[in-house]
């Protein structure tokens, strides 16, 4: 009975979302980017992005749709390879941040007491340092590169979801269904994992979408600053190259990397809004 009921709520939510063509388009864009990223990862797409395929700074033409860069490399291949980097960062960072946030938020909210105070202290401390300074400091000491990006962005992005999960777990833990679980002798772990967590899942889904796009944007800025991706393709590195190129009239690296990033960030923004509307009970009916 409970299970059927839970399911129908999710189905209701997603059928509400599916009614909007815009949401479906956004979802298709996200899936498309993920596919491109996977194909690039497996070496099927843009594996030879470092190859010199034309002259330096060829404007977009029939052979090179997105033009070439200073070394005569295909801008299209670089965009594809950067997509892999961006999606990779978005995914890994979301997973890290959500894992930390959900685990700590659930433990703090459920058990309360000293543990909770410690967790609140940790995230309040992190939240008190402006994100950009924390990111810069962390990437600085961790050395530059993809691993530093994962850790720095993972560390700065879990606070919000932890706060939300903690608050929701506090609200949920005294509800009847949890009391019922206690009555039949469920352990704390099974109450948290089996009973409460499914009821706070909507926060995780909404946050996943939000963290994903924020991580993509941060990666671009860090790479632009020279603190992120080294010697590899990244939209941020391409935009940094474009700084000089623009004055020489070579606009294509800037425009195409901007477009590539714009599309995925826009899709995630639309998706986040749709998820919030569909899943957040407070907004239902507005």
């Amino acid at each position: 009975m409970t299970r059927a009921f839970t399911k129908s709520i999710w189905i209701q939510a997603f059928s509400r979302m599916a009614k909007s063509k815009l949401t479906i388009t956004a979802l298709v864009v996200v899936i498309g980017y993920s596919l491109i990223a996977l194909l690039a990862h497996w070496g099927i797409l843009a594996n030879d992005w470092q190859l010199e395929i034309g002259n330096s700074y060829e404007a977009p033409n029939i052979h090179h749709w997105f033009g070439t860069d200073i070394f005569g490399r295909s801008v299209f291949a670089k965009i594809v390879k950067s997509t892999e980097v961006a999606m990779n960062v978005g995914f890994v960072v979301s997973i890290i941040a959500i894992t930390i946030g959900v685990v700590l938020g659930a433990i703090g909210g459920y058990f309360g007491g000293v543990v909770d105070e410690l967790i609140v202290w940790i995230y309040s401390t992190l939240a008190a340092i402006p994100n950009i300074m924390l990111l810069i400091s962390l990437t600085f000491i961790l050395g530059k590169g993809i691993l530093a990006i994962y850790i720095a962005l993972g560390m700065t992005n879990w606070v919000e979801i932890c706060r939300l999960i903690r608050g929701e777990v506090i609200r949920q833990k005294d509800r009847e269904y949890v009391q019922a679980a206690t009555a039949i002798g469920a352990s704390s772990f099974s109450k948290l994992a089996l009973h409460i967590l499914p009821n706070v899942m909507h926060i995780v889904i909404i946050q996943f979408s939000a963290i994903f796009q924020s991580a993509i944007k941060s990666e671009v800025i860090l790479s632009y600053l020279g603190l992120g991706i080294q010697n590899g393709p990244s939209w941020g590195v391409m935009i940094n190259d474009a700084k000089v190129e623009l004055m020489q009239g070579a606009w294509w690296q800037l425009i195409f990397s901007t477009m590539a990033m714009f599309l995925i960030v826009l899709a995630f923004n639309i998706l986040s809004d749709a998820l919030r509307d569909a899943l957040d009970p407070k907004l239902r009916g507005k």
Binding site: T125, A128, P130, M133, A242, M247, L266
Partner: protein, 313 residues
């Protein structure tokens, strides 16, 4: 609970946060970052030189003393000297802050007035074409990389059209004005999408309250409901949002300032990043955190002054 009691308790709450932040900064810069003497002196430094430099930088002292130094610097703003320019950091930051304010404060005021006005228009026409178009434009503006606005803005308006200075800065009023117009406009564009959406949500949240229905029921015209009742109540969230943004203004200009060669806080931070100038990055982290904590405190206290319900919990 009375108000002074609340403020006192709120002040006490700052202590563990200050401890936590200083500890984190200590771990990042003094423990993990390791020995900077090799970077500073280059490969061919003798051990004696390195030891001397370590002593000069205070790195030969115990970790406890180094930690206390960080804690102390949060209050005295004594951060030592820059590695790259050898200048004292505190006056450097002071001058830079002055420069930043000439750019950031006008941009902040314009952004706030514009975004609140647009949000009111959107709320007034909620659900209709005007509202939906405004939301769409906001989301699109939010989705474009900030870097692109800066690059294209500078290229088009300063380089191609020559309407503004491409880069640079002159100290003193009114000499700086030509240099801050374009960066200022770009700052407004960078944040207006977020702000409009935020204020629109705040205003719409109020719109479904009972008192609004009462106001409409007694026959007040919609614009009067919006300005007299809704805006007044939404003011709490609006003002909170305005104050909470102030410390972020210190750093919000990081990229804009470096692009336009403006020697403000963002500019010197970028310079420090490019030159591995740890003390400046550390000082900027500490200062921005101090401001963040102070403004958070002010917001919380103001909030309770305006909304007595909060004091009860």
């Amino acid at each position: 609970m009375n108000l002074y009691n609340y403020i006192f308790r709120r002040l006490l709450y700052v202590i563990p946060i200050v401890m936590g932040v200083s500890l984190l900064i200590f771990v990042i810069f003094n423990v993990v970052a390791g020995d900077p003497t090799a970077i500073l002196l280059g490969k061919h430094a003798s051990l004696k030189q390195m030891a001397e430099l370590r002593h000069e930088l205070g790195l030969d002292r115990s970790w406890l003393m180094q930690y206390l130094d960080i804690l102390k610097s949060a209050f005295t703003f004594n951060f030592g000297r820059s590695w790259s320019t050898k200048q004292l950091i505190a006056p450097m930051i002071g001058t830079a802050a002055g420069v930043s304010f000439t750019l950031v404060i006008p941009a902040f005021i314009v952004t706030s007035i514009l975004s609140i006005s647009i949000a009111l228009i959107a709320a007034f026409y909620r659900g209709r074409l005007v509202d939906r178009s405004l939301v769409v434009v906001s989301v699109i503006m939010m989705s474009i990389s900030g870097l692109t606005y800066i690059l294209l803005g500078q290229w088009l308006f300063a380089y191609k059209l020559g309407w503004f200075e491409i880069a640079g800065y002159e100290y003193g009023f009114p000499h700086f004005i030509p240099y801050i117009v374009l960066p200022g406009i770009i700052l407004v564009i960078l944040s207006i999408g977020y702000e409009v959406r935020f204020y629109r949500t705040v205003i719409l949240d109020e719109m479904y309250q009972d008192y609004v229905r009462t106001a409409r029921a007694k026959g007040l015209p919609e614009w009067m409901v919006l300005f007299k009742h809704i805006l007044k109540n939404a003011m709490v969230s609006i003002i909170t949002n305005l104050i909470i943004q102030l410390p972020a203004l210190l750093l919000g200009t990081l990229l804009v300032e470096s692009f336009f060669g403006i020697p403000g806080l963002g500019g010197i931070t970028m310079h420090a990043i490019n030159n591995s100038d740890f003390p400046i990055i550390k000082a900027m982290t500490i200062i921005s955190t101090v401001f963040y904590i102070i403004f958070n405190l002010i917001t919380d206290v103001l909030y309770t002054l305006v909304d007595p319900r909060i004091r009860l919990s």
